[in-house]
Structure formats: C-alpha cells, structure tokens
Point group: C2
Chain length 890, copies 2
C-alpha cells in the first residue's frame, strides 16, 4: 500500500514534492534535533487523490492518520479527545512552492466542551483554555464550515463592548464561555449542524478543508501570478500544539535571519507575547520588533540567535522562521527560505559568497526574476525639499505614485483603464492579492513588517508601507484622513517605501542606481554568461546611461526618434511633402547635418563598442499631421474665409496625407521598402553615419558602426541596400579613412526573412531579430489592435498563457528564430545574431536566446543589469542540463 | 576549339538550345531531304560570348562563317560577292523559344553596286534585281544601321508619286535604281558612312546586328510577358536566298497545317505572289488565302499539301511553315509548332490523339498555361439581335468591349486608371506589344490572319480582328470612321473576334461554355491527375456552375458574402451595433433563417460532394458604413436641425464604428478571434449549417459539410471552436440524425499555424491553405497597400520576379505550406490538405501543390477546367522526373 502519512522522523528536506515545503522542513528540523513539537504530514499525493476522486479522502487514509496520532500522544503524554490530558493539534497546509497565507490552517483542534475543561485544569488557566476554544471554533467555522469571519467578529465585538473590554488580553474566562455559546449557536444556525464534538470528526473535516483550500480563489490568483502549477496540490501537516498564549512568558513570533528588506545580517522580525501563531502573520495587532525580546526574555533570545545561525548554515540561505514560546520554552514551528526584496536578495547572495557559504554560481542562481525586476528601485525625487504627511513601516522598498483606491476590486477596475493606483486599506488579507498585483503600491494602517501585505508586496517587489497608524479610513464616505487632511478615493498620493514616508499628490520619481552589492553580483554574472548584453539607445544620453549599466554596445539605435524632435519634425514633413526628388534632397540635406551631429555624439559615447544604427523604419505618414485634424482645420479655414495661399498649401498637404494613407500601415510602405522606393532618404542617413564616423575617428574615437536595414523579406532588398551603403562609403569617406570597417546587417522581423535566412545571410554581417514585428506577423496580430481588443480575452479564455509581446512565444516565433540562426550560420559561420525587441529584457526570453545560440540580447538601458544576470542564470541552467563532461568534449 | 558554326547537314532538332528553334528545324528538315535552301547556323553560344565580351564577335568566328559559306557557294554554284553569279543570303535570328517577329532578319545580303548587275543578268530580270537591292539597303539600313523606316518609306512614296505608281509591282528597274541612289544618300547622311559595298563586311555587321536585336525593347517586353530567360541569346541562320519576287510564278507564304484559330484540320494560311518573305508576315499587303493557290499554282499546292502532312507526322504537331516559290519551285524556309488559340490547342491535341499521332499524356502536355487561360472564351450576348457595324478577319477568338485607343502607349496609360481599352490601329508592329498586352482586344484595318497582330494576340488569347478594311483611322483628329459613323478615341466599341464582327458601344458579354473537344481533354486530364479540384463558391448559383465545370466539391464557401446582400446588410449591421449579447442574438436569429436557406440550396447543388463552409472571417467594421460618411451625415443633420432621435442613433453608430476601428484591420479582430469573443455569431452560423443539413438530408440529399475556422494561429483556438461545433451539433440535430458526419478544419493562413501544424492538426480534419493571407503575413505585405504602393517598383527594380499574390512564392510561403503538410500528416495521417487562395487557379502554383502532396486545389468556378488540366500536367511532369520504376516501388 502506498504510504500517505509520514512522521516528522521519517521525512527529510528532499521530500518537498511529497510533503510540501512545510512538512519537509519540519521533518528535516526534527532530524537535526531541533525543538520541534512532534507531528506528521499527509502527502500531496493524498491531496491529488482527494481531488481525483471528486472530493473523497482516499480509503485507509484516516486509519493511517490515527496510527500516526498515537505516536504524538505518546511523545506528549496526552491523548486526543481525552478529558483530562487532551492532546491538541494544529492542521496546516503546506504546498511544494511557498504560498504564504494563501491556504488555510486550523489551530487548537481537539477541543470540545469536555476536553476544554481538561485543558483548563491541566494548564491551571481557564481563561487560556477558553481563549483556545473560542479561537478553534472561529477558525473551524471559517475554514471548514465556510462561515464568514465577519459574523464571529461581530459577536466578539458585541461581547467586548458589553463587557467594556478593549483588548483580547482583558477578556475573562466567563466572557469567553459566553462568547463560545454564541459562537456555537452561530455555527449551528449558519451550517445547519451543531459544532462537532467528536474530535476525530473534527480532524477529518479539517484535513479535507485544508485540501480544498488549495482551490480557493486567492490561492488560484496567487498561483497564476507566480506561475505555480494548478495540479501540484498541498500536503497537510498535523502537529502537537504548543501555546504562545499561556501568559507573558509565552508568545509567538516570526524571525528572519537577515533583514529581508535590505539584506543586512541582523536578526529581524516580530513577536507578540501571550498570543497564538496567526496573530502575528495576520497583522491584527502590531507586534514588537525582535530585538526587544533580548530585554523581555533574554534566554529565549540567545537560544533563538543560536538556532538562527544553525538553520542558516544548514539550509545555506536566509531563513524565515516561525516560533512559539510556551512558558519560557522555545519551539520552532516552521523554517523556510525567507522572501526578500531584490535589494536584499542581491546583498544576501553576495554576502553568503563572501562568508564562504555558497558558490558564486549559486549566488547568481539565487536571484529570482521577480528580484531582478526590482533590482533597481525607483525613488522619490528629493532634489526639492518635501514634507511627508505621515510615516509607516518601510515594508517593501521603492517608490510609487497613484490614485487612492480602498479595495482590491476597485484597484483592478481602475488599472484596466490605464490608471495608476495605490491600494490603501486597514490591512490586507490573502483575498486582496489581485488588488496588490494591480496597484503601484500598498499602504496599510495596521500590520507590521511581516504582515500579509508586507510579505506579498516584497515578493512582488511592489512598494509597500505598513502599520501607518495615522491613517483613518472611512469606507462609507470612501475617504481617508491623515491628521487634518482628508483624501477622497481617486486623489493622488505618493509612497517612499524605502523610508516609509507618505506624500501628498503625484511626485516625480527618480530612476534607480546601482549598489556596491549589485555591482559585485553583476561582475560575478559577467564571469559566467556567454550572451553579450547590448542596449537599445536612440540618444547620446541613453548611450552614456547604458554604458554605465554595463551595456557592451548598442544593438538598436532607432534613427526615426531623431526625426521626431520639435525643431526637426517640420523639416521631415517638408521632405515628405516634397513634390519631387530634387526638393526632397534639399530638405534631406538639412536633416543630414542634424543626424550627423547625433551620430557623432553617440559614437563618442560608445567609443570602442559596436553601435548598430537602424535606417528609417516607420511609414512616412507617421510623421505627418492627422488627416482628420487637417480636414477640420481646412473646414475652419474655409468658414473663416482664410488666406487663399494657406488654403492651397493645406489642400496639397491633405491630398499628400491622403495618398500616403494605408489600410494596414504595419504591412505597408515602411522599412527597407522606403529605402528601395526613395533611396535618397537612406542615402542621406548613410552619409550622415559615415561623415559622423570620420569626424569621430579624427578625434581618436574607436568607431564601430553597424548599419541595419529594417523589414527585409527578400535577400534582393538587402543586396541592393548593401550596395547602396558601399557606394556611399566610397563617396563619403576621405582617402585616409578608406580602410574604415563597418558592418551591414538586417532586422529579421518578417517571417519570410527568417524562413529564407540562408539566402538573406549572403548579404548580412549580422541578424537582429525584431521580435515585436516578428511576433505581430507570425501570429497575425497587430499589437496596437490586439492588446486593446482581444489579447485580454484570449488569456482569460486560456487560448494564450501569456501575452506574446511580453514573453516570447518560443513555440512559434521561437521556431522561426532558431531556424534563422541555424540557416544563417550555415551560410555564414561568423554571422552575429541577437534580439533587439522588448523581449531582450525578459528572463525567459533571454534563456531562450541563450539556448538558441544567439550572440547577444539588446534591451533598454535600465534593463541591462537585469539582462546581465539573466544571461548568467541561463548559462548556468543550460550548463546544469548538459551531461557531465559534455562541454570539455566540445 | 569550340564549334560555333553548324551546317544544316550537321544539326538536328534536338540541338535547339544551341541552334535556336529555326536553325534546329532547318537542319532537321535538311536531313529529312526536304527542299531547303542550303545554309548554316551560328550558335547561341556565340551570341552569349558576343554579349559577355561587351559586344565583340568571338575570335575566329568569321573564319568559320567563311568556310561554311563556301559550302553554300558550292551547292548553289554561286559565289558570295561575285559579279557574275553572285550568291545572296538571308541572315535570320532564331531563339530557343519562339518569339515571332521580335528580332531582326536581313534578306538579299551580298548585293552591292556590282553584284546587283550580275543578279540582273543571271535572272534576266533587271527589275527583280534592283527590287532586291532596294529591299536589302532598306533592311540593312534599318536593322544594322538603326535608321528609322519612315525615312526609307518617305523616299519610296515620293518616288512612286513622281512616277505615278500605286503598287510595288508597277515600279520599273530604272525607278528602283533612282530610289537606290537616294537610299544610299540617306544611309550616308544618317549613318555617316557610305553604304558598305564589301559583302563580307555586310555579313559581319548583319550577324552582329541580329545578335544585338536580342536586346531590343520589343524582344525584352515579349520575353518578360512570356517568361523567357534573358540570358538565352539568339542563334543566327545564314541561308542561300530563294526568290519569291521573280514574277507571278513566284511567291511566298505562310502555311498552318491546321486552322490555328479553331483547330480544324485544313490547310490554312496565306500567300502573296511576286513577293519576298517579310511582305506576308509584316501585314503590309493583304495576301490571298492558301486555298486560292490550288487554282493559281495547282502543282505547288499539291506539293505543299504533301509536305504539310509529312512535316506534321514527323514533328507530331501542327506546323507553321514558311515557304517560298521560285519560278514554280517550292522551298521551305522554316517550320515550327504553330501558335494557336486555346480552343485550337484543345481540338488539335484531342484530334492528334484520335489520329494515333500522340498519346493522351502528350495531349495534356501540349496545352500551355496561356492556352488554358483562354480555354473558355467569352462571347457577345446575342440574345437580342445586334447589327455589326463592320466585319474583319477573326484572328483570335473571343469577345471584348472597351474604349477605343489608337496607340500602345495610350492603351497602357488608360488601363493604369482601370479603364478597359480596345487597341485600334492600321496594323500592329512588334513595337506595339505592350499595348496589346494592356488592351482587352485588338482591331486592325490591314494585315491577315498571320499578321503580327494576329499571331501575338492568339498567343495571348486576346480577342483580335484583323484586316478590317472599312476602318479609316485619322490620327490627327484621333478618330476612326467606319462607313458613315465616326468614333472619337475614348468611345466604346465591342469585338466578336470569333466571327470577326465589330459592334458599336459596350455590349454585355457571355461567359464561356465547354466544347466537346475540351470535354474530351478534361476527361483525359481527370484520368491522369491525382490532385482533386474543388471550387470556391458562395452562392447556390456558383455551386451549380462549378459542378458543371467538373468541380469535385466546394473548397471554400465564404459565408460573409451571404451577409452583404441588400436586404441582409441592415440586419447584420443591427446585430453588430447591438448593445448587448441578448439584442445581438435577436438579430442573429433573423440571419439564421437566411443562412440556413442558402446552405440548404448549396447542399442540394453539391449532393454527394464535400462542401467546406468557412465561418465569418472579416472584421465587423467591414459591414458598417464608412466613418467619414457617417460624420458627414451627422454634420448635415446638425446643420439642418435634424430629428433628435435620428441624431442620437447616428451618434451611437458613429461611436460604435469608432470603437471598432482598427489600425491594422488585417491583423485585428477578425476570423476565429470573432468566434472566441462573440461565440454567439459562430453559434448561429453552425446552427444554420446543421439545420440546413438536416432539412436536406430529409429530402434525401447526400450532405457532406466541412466547417472551416478561419485565421487560427494557436491550437487552442481550434480546440475551443471544435468543441462549440460539437456542442451545437448535439443541440440542433434531431435524434434520428445524430449519426450524421461532419468535418471540422481550419484555414492555415497565419504563419504560426503553419509552424505549429502538428499541434493544430490535433483538432483538424482538414487544412485549407489561405495563400492570400499567408502571403500577406509571411512577406509582411498588406495586399491592399502593397499592390498600389510598392509591388510595381519591386518588380521593376528586380527585387521580386513576380507578384506573390498572383504566383505563389514557393521559396517562402511554399516552405511554410510544405512544413505544415509534413507536420500535420505526421500527427494525423488522413488529414486532408488543399489550397483555397487565388493561387488555386494558377498553373505554377498548382504544380507546387501537387509536388507538396496536397490533396486538392480550390479555385473559382470558371477556373475549374483550367485547374483540372494543370493538375494533370503537374502529375505528368512529376512522373517524368521520377527515376524509372520509382512509382512501382512505392
């Protein structure tokens, strides 16, 4: 028979897939001899079997559980359901991949009207016993019976009010008993059944409920957000209760072995005396910071410090530990790798390397894509002095501006319209995850650094400020007061979550800088990766910035961006509207000097590094005024009896715009097609490049230009353009610079070019995959139309898993890229290949590029550090997949 | 040394590539012992060497020519350049592929002031000798020295006027001498050199000129039109002259062994007494029909009949023979397979099979794509009696209507604006080919059935009426008079070129019907081809017609065409403008009945044959009024103080149209994307199909529907749509018809679907390649934009050889199709595959489909016979390529 229940003595860390992260860790810690209350774990396999059979516990499972329970009874000298020495247990979920707070937990199981009396006598603390019982009934009612917490909370509030109590600690045993009677009525009324007194029935129902919680809404949302497979299922750990609510020498807490926000090596976390586990995590009361424990319970603090170091060494990573203190005795309830901000992840990884705990390669592997997303945080621009309106706990660093919203659904709705929002609430619960995902940042009035909002936001790299007591939220008027100020929903605020300060209005944000630890990590990454990282840069400023961030060249310089600037656009327009080639060349000559100036500055910035310049790509009508506006202007002019000459000019512009108008401009006269039809335009750009190159060379700059032809679909296009480049080079370069080397290549963005890459490669020194257009044409999606009109529905209806414009479609678009690389190299072994689409900054896509043997990725300047690390991770991943010695055999 | 000169005794038919068609045929006929004047051929290789060296005759070539000339001298007992018995020769071009009249020929070469006297004495006919000399000087002047014929003709006209002569025959020797003196002055003045008296110099210059004529403008245009490679080059045949201008027992003519217009087995052609070769072909004088020769020179006629039969048996095809009669002796100067109309080609091929001369397979191979283009000629609708305004020779059958133009350039210019034109001229010359290509039809006042216009028009299947004497064209007033009627350029006329009748105005034309011979040929084709031929049909009428033409099913029924009809469009619009799904379904229900009615009629028409129905494909905004028009209407309504309710309705329509507007509609919300977003639309269409099917089944019709999902790019799209089809089938079909079989398949028109064909094939019973969209997306061309904006330039600038929307791009788009067929079949061996784009009716593309192993092509009803023959030809071509026994080994 398949074993479905494992005692903590029987498991180990490597059994995560079977026992869940929590179960495996508890087993591992038990084996290490750490102070773990005894218990056992029901496997994820049992959970999957439960779902497979349509919600029935596998046959024989209960028997196995009862047997395992006996071992706990023996270890604890207590008996489950016994009226004198009753054993109480916790029933906890534990998935393979950590999903903090997303699934359900039940504490104090085993209490009923009889056993509660035994607990009272045994602990000599009636208040404690009935506190446990009321907690149990509420948790059981909520989790197992699905009764909304609001009903329990109302009864509790009533009771406290009646009895004049403010905090739970003041409530007497008698008052708890009264509340328990009301709770039981509530349960009977809402569930149609009395509260179950049979402790074995309690246990069975609890196990089933934890299984079911795998599929609650918030767990599903979380899994979707973090890409966790739906079919994994959860394990259930059942463990003897230890009690943090046995008085002021008891308590419960959460400890991080290093600061999860900054990565600094210090004990970090919070605890609460006389409280049970969930009180801390749920953020219902504001707990004390860990260092305070040194004063309150110094022996416990020392023991905690010792255990923290031991666990970190054993697990070779920063740990997030849950502990309970029962009458001065420390118990560990859970340990796991701690969630951390990107900044902390980098610092911890680099520190662990320096402490000799992990290797450089491991340091790189420790950085998650979500960390990399926030590697370089934004910050509030403090160049002008600002006064914060209040301050909270800096729970997840960064900065954000947006409109206030008070609930998760509003957050989601408003962002659908493209608005930026800040989610402001008393506290967040796992039910709010979709709102946190949607928001720019989160601000809560209660809860500490380990509260739900803090943990989730850090995981996402989302700015978050917690425990900001000054907030007073009034949901009926949809407003929040901070001191004398009142903000309506929809008004702007800004958060500096690195410091915890809150500001009025929408502030401008500074882009991030590089920390010394990140610099160190990037150096490690550079030593590992084989993909080069280039940048997309259209201005000298971009180029300088990207080089600071470690770009090894420019993979894409879009020359049209130089056309759009204020004083140039009129000349560009005149050039387009020219009646003949002669007039057009006149205007082009004026543009020539401007482009030459830009190119020279960029060559200087990239001294010694390659710089790939793409010739004009967009359809000419993009530079012209909108037809409707022109017609409106024309009508106005006619009505107002405008000047005849102006009218004539306007009419001719309208007719030209009309003539240039296209039904599908994306597939029309643009890219190399412009170069073929109006060679004078490309001629000018090429001339500007060579003149700029020569000027820079004269100043001693090491100039390495590549001229890139966009939208090639047939090798003849590239052939003719290459001839044009060579012709202009001969014309423009002076005799002393005729030796000057330049490269000519093409974008591969039309499917046909990829299919016929061998033919195209004849005339190309490099291929740059323009994955945006290639995705558009391979899918037949116009990005402008698809994202607004149907991509959302396509993801909702599970046609597509991800937006192919964000994550490269490896199955389809990727197949074309792989094919083109193979075919291109077969024709020309030293062909340089890379991607310059938006995908160049996405880690999955970078892994794909590495696998496909591309030479480089090119991304925006701020994405360069991300790409350097992702490229190193890709190299490590592929290295790990290769059979031993495969590399050396090459 | 490479042999570059071949005597007629040394060559044979198989040496066409080296000797050109004319040279090879002369050699073959010489070997057969036919009466061929002796001669030799300079090879095409020599021509290519001439061009390769930049226009220099290869070294030693002249020596070889002189040696070969000696053999002619010996055979003719005459000496080149001799003053007593001068040998005269013709110098003719001869390309590998026949290009009638496109290149140059020089006759009577070897005459000078001395030898002409020898010729006069020898022939005892001074008039003849000087007639030859003046012809020679003019031809040499035109061809070798590039002097425009107009100058020679003016001098000749002056001379005739001075001497009161009407026809050439009346001119005396003295008058010719005078003219010759003037000709020589003209030559000296225009070329800067006296007319060359050295006969060897004449010969060298003539050979070079004929080589050069390969690259004259009209030859290039012709090659481009017929796809003849530019690098072939021409051979030159040099042959002893025989003289048709030695009196009334001499003459020259052209003979077809069967009627090239109808295919009837009869001697057909024309001759002219006392004339030299070019007089007939050039259409300068109207010649006599061949049967008249039986009366004039009965012995010659008999001999001609005998030789015609001999040549036809030898060459196994209808022959086009040039002959000359010199004093009652018949000489053959050329034979070649005769150009013919499509109708004639079919009749001749079928007759030759029945006469046992060729096999069925050869009959199929004899039909050229250009013949197939005209297989089914249009005709004038004669249901109402019509009176012709005049009658000419029916030179190329068919019918045409259009506006009168008087020259080729005007024809080209007007057709650029989309107008249909009829080219009307005295005669056409090879310089007019571009005008003939552009025109709907050709009408000439002079020239016979073998005149230039007739030959070229037949080759193109273009309606042509020749020798219509009643026409009087006045180019100064740009008008033509026919009897009392006068037509200005631009007025409409119609031609019935099957009868030769000309009508006033633009008449309605009947579409073609099938002749018994064509029926026979199609039956032969059906026995050979393996590709199935389906049709694209959107209406019951189309379906009936296509079935008559032999369609084996419907490959594409575009349901949206049913939406566009007058009374339905408002309902479709209301459906689109509906505010919610409920309202939309209301309108859909009205459409349901209409679609059901159409489908039922089509099922009945296709009884027993498959019928593939494509669900709605175009973007919804295509059904709505134009935004600009709506806005105009709105402005008007506001100005005129329109009804508030109407204004409101208009505003809401405008806003909806605005909302639906797309930047690149081709890549937007259309095809299956509509089906995913608005399942109720597809739901209605599927319901209509099943209800129609059931109704037809009840009437005993054998219904075989395929439901085709357009624009699929991801297998999930097809998966969900297939589920929808199955769901609706279950809902709609009554219990007794649940057994009913239907197929579900997809268009493959998005590159991604082709790349992932294995995945898509999981949910498809068939793939139909939509080569129009597939071409658009693979090239990144919007057809609407590309054809107007840059495809023309792309072909002119040799980026593309052909328009990929007309001829399938086998290199790129074809690669995707091949890939998809292989991958799809690997997943599903019985997957049916075919194409339903416009390419389905193009013979090269059909060959490609056969090679790629597709199951069918689908084309427009009128194209079905064409496709049946093209498919058979494809099968034969591929069979011929396979190594012996390869088929039986399978």
């Amino acid at each position: 028979m398949l074993k479905r229940v494992y005692s903590f003595n029987e498991g180990k860390l490597g059994m995560k897939a079977l026992l869940g992260g929590k179960g495996a860790n508890l087993a591992e810690m038990t084996t290490l001899g750490l102070p773990i209350p005894p218990g056992f774990t029901v496997t994820t396999e049992a959970c999957r079997a439960y779902f497979a059979s349509g919600g029935k516990l596998p046959e024989g499972l209960l028997g196995e559980i009862v047997i395992a329970l006996h071992d706990i009874e023996e270890a604890q000298s207590a008996i489950f359901g016994d009226t004198e020495r009753p054993l109480l247990v916790s029933v906890r979920s534990g998935s393979v991949t950590s999903m903090p707070g997303m699934m359900d937990t039940i504490l104090n199981l085993g209490l009923n009207d009889e056993t509660v009396r035994g607990l009272a006598e045994q602990s000599r603390n009636e208040t404690f016993a009935y506190d446990c019982y009321r907690r149990f009934i509420q948790m059981f009612g909520e989790v197992v019976l699905g009764i909304d917490s609001i009903h329990f909370n109302q009864l509790q509030e009533q009771s406290k009010q009646t009895n004049g109590r403010v905090s739970d600690q003041e409530v007497s045993a008698g008052e708890w008993k009264e509340l328990i009677a009301n709770y039981k009525d509530l349960v009977a009324e809402r569930s149609g059944q009395p509260f179950p007194q049979d402790v074995y029935q309690q246990l069975q129902l609890a196990v089933e409920a934890v299984f079911r919680s795998w599929n609650n809404m918030r767990a599903k949302v979380y899994r979707k957000a973090f890409g966790i497979p739906d079919e994994q299922g959860t394990a259930v750990s059942i463990q003897a209760m230890v009690f943090g609510n046995l008085g002021n020498d008891s308590g419960t807490g959460v400890l991080f072995t290093r600061n999860p926000s900054t990565g600094v090596k210090e004990l970090y976390g919070e605890y609460m005396v006389n409280a049970q586990g969930e009180d801390v995590v749920a953020g219902i009361r504001t707990p004390n910071p860990i260092p305070q424990l040194l004063e309150e319970l110094p022996l416990v603090y020392d023991r905690l410090e010792e255990l923290a170091s031991l666990l970190e060494c054993h697990y070779r990573d920063m740990q997030d530990i849950e502990f309970t203190i029962e009458k001065g005795n420390l118990y560990l309830l859970q340990t796991r790798s701690g969630k951390r901000t990107g900044q902390a992840a980098v610092k911890i990884a680099v520190d662990l390397v320096e402490e000799g705990i992990i290797s450089k390669e491991e340091a790189i592997q420790r950085i998650e894509p979500s960390h990399m997303d926030q590697l370089l945080h934004r910050s509030i621009d403090t160049s002008t002095p600002l006064e914060a309106i209040t301050q909270g706990l800096p729970a997840s660093p960064g900065a954000a501006s947006g409109r206030i919203v008070f609930d998760a659904d509003t957050a989601v709705n408003w962002t659908k319209d493209g608005q930026k929002v800040i989610l402001v609430s008393v506290e967040t619960s796992p039910d709010d995850v979709h709102g946190i995902i949607a928001a720019e940042g989160v601000l809560t009035s209660r809860g500490g650094m380990t509260s739900h909002a803090a943990v989730v936001a850090r995981g996402m790299g989302k700015p978050c400020i917690c425990g900001c007591d000054a907030l007073s939220i009034d949901l009926s008027s949809r407003s929040v007061s901070i001191g004398t100020l009142t903000f309506q929903e929809g008004e702007d605020i800004s958060l500096d979550s690195t410091t915890g300060q809150v500001y009025q209005g929408s502030l401008s944000l500074n882009e991030p800088v590089i920390t010394p630890e990140l610099l160190k990590l990037l150096e490690i990454a550079d030593g590992i990766r084989t993909l080069k990282v280039y940048t997309n840069a259209d201005t000298p400023l971009d180029a300088v910035k990207a080089r600071e961030f470690g770009a090894e060249g420019i993979g894409l310089c879009r020359t049209e961006h130089m056309f759009f600037s204020g004083n140039r656009l009129p000349i560009v327009q005149a050039m387009i509207l020219a009646d003949d080639q002669e007039e057009r060349i006149l205007h082009l000559n004026r543009l020539l000097q401007m482009q030459q100036f830009d190119f020279e500055a960029m060559f200087s910035a990239m001294d010694g590094l390659p710089m790939t310049i793409r010739l004009l790509d967009p359809p000419l009508h993009e530079f012209l005024p909108n037809l409707e506006q022109l017609q409106e202007r024309h009508r106005e002019l006619v009505l107002s009896g405008g000047h005849a000459e102006e009218l004539q000019r306007l009419k001719s512009t309208i007719s030209k715009v009309h003539e240039l108008r296209e039904i599908n401009p994306m597939l029309g006269l643009r890219g190399v097609r412009l170069g073929i039809l109006f060679p004078e335009i490309y001629d000018m750009q090429i001339e500007a490049i060579f003149k700029a190159a020569e000027a820079a060379l004269r100043r001693g700059v090491d100039v390495r230009p590549g001229i890139m032809i966009p939208l090639v679909g047939h090798s003849n296009e590239l052939k003719q353009m290459r001839e044009l480049v060579d012709k202009v080079a001969v014309q423009v370069l002076s005799e002393e610079f005729k030796w000057f080397k330049y490269r000519v290549g093409t974008m591969i963005e039309v499917p046909r070019a990829a299919l016929l890459a061998d033919s195209v490669a004849q005339y190309a020194d490099f291929f740059s995959f323009g994955t945006n257009d290639l995705t558009q044409m391979t899918f037949g999606y116009s990005r402008d139309d698809a994202e607004g009109k149907f991509l959302g529905s396509y993801m909702e209806k599970n046609i597509l898993e991800t937006n192919p414009f964000q994550v490269l479609d490896q199955d389809g678009v990727g197949k074309l890229i792989e094919w083109a690389v193979v075919k291109g190299r077969a024709k020309k072994p030293f062909l340089e290949t890379g991607i310059c689409g938006e995908h160049g900054g996405d880690s999955e896509s970078i892994l794909f590029c590495h696998r496909s043997g591309l030479d480089y990725v090119s991304c925006s300047p701020y994405r360069v550090p991300f790409a350097r690390i992702a490229a190193a991770q890709a190299a490590l991943l592929v290295r790990a997949e290769q059979p031993e010695g495969a590399l050396s055999a090459l």
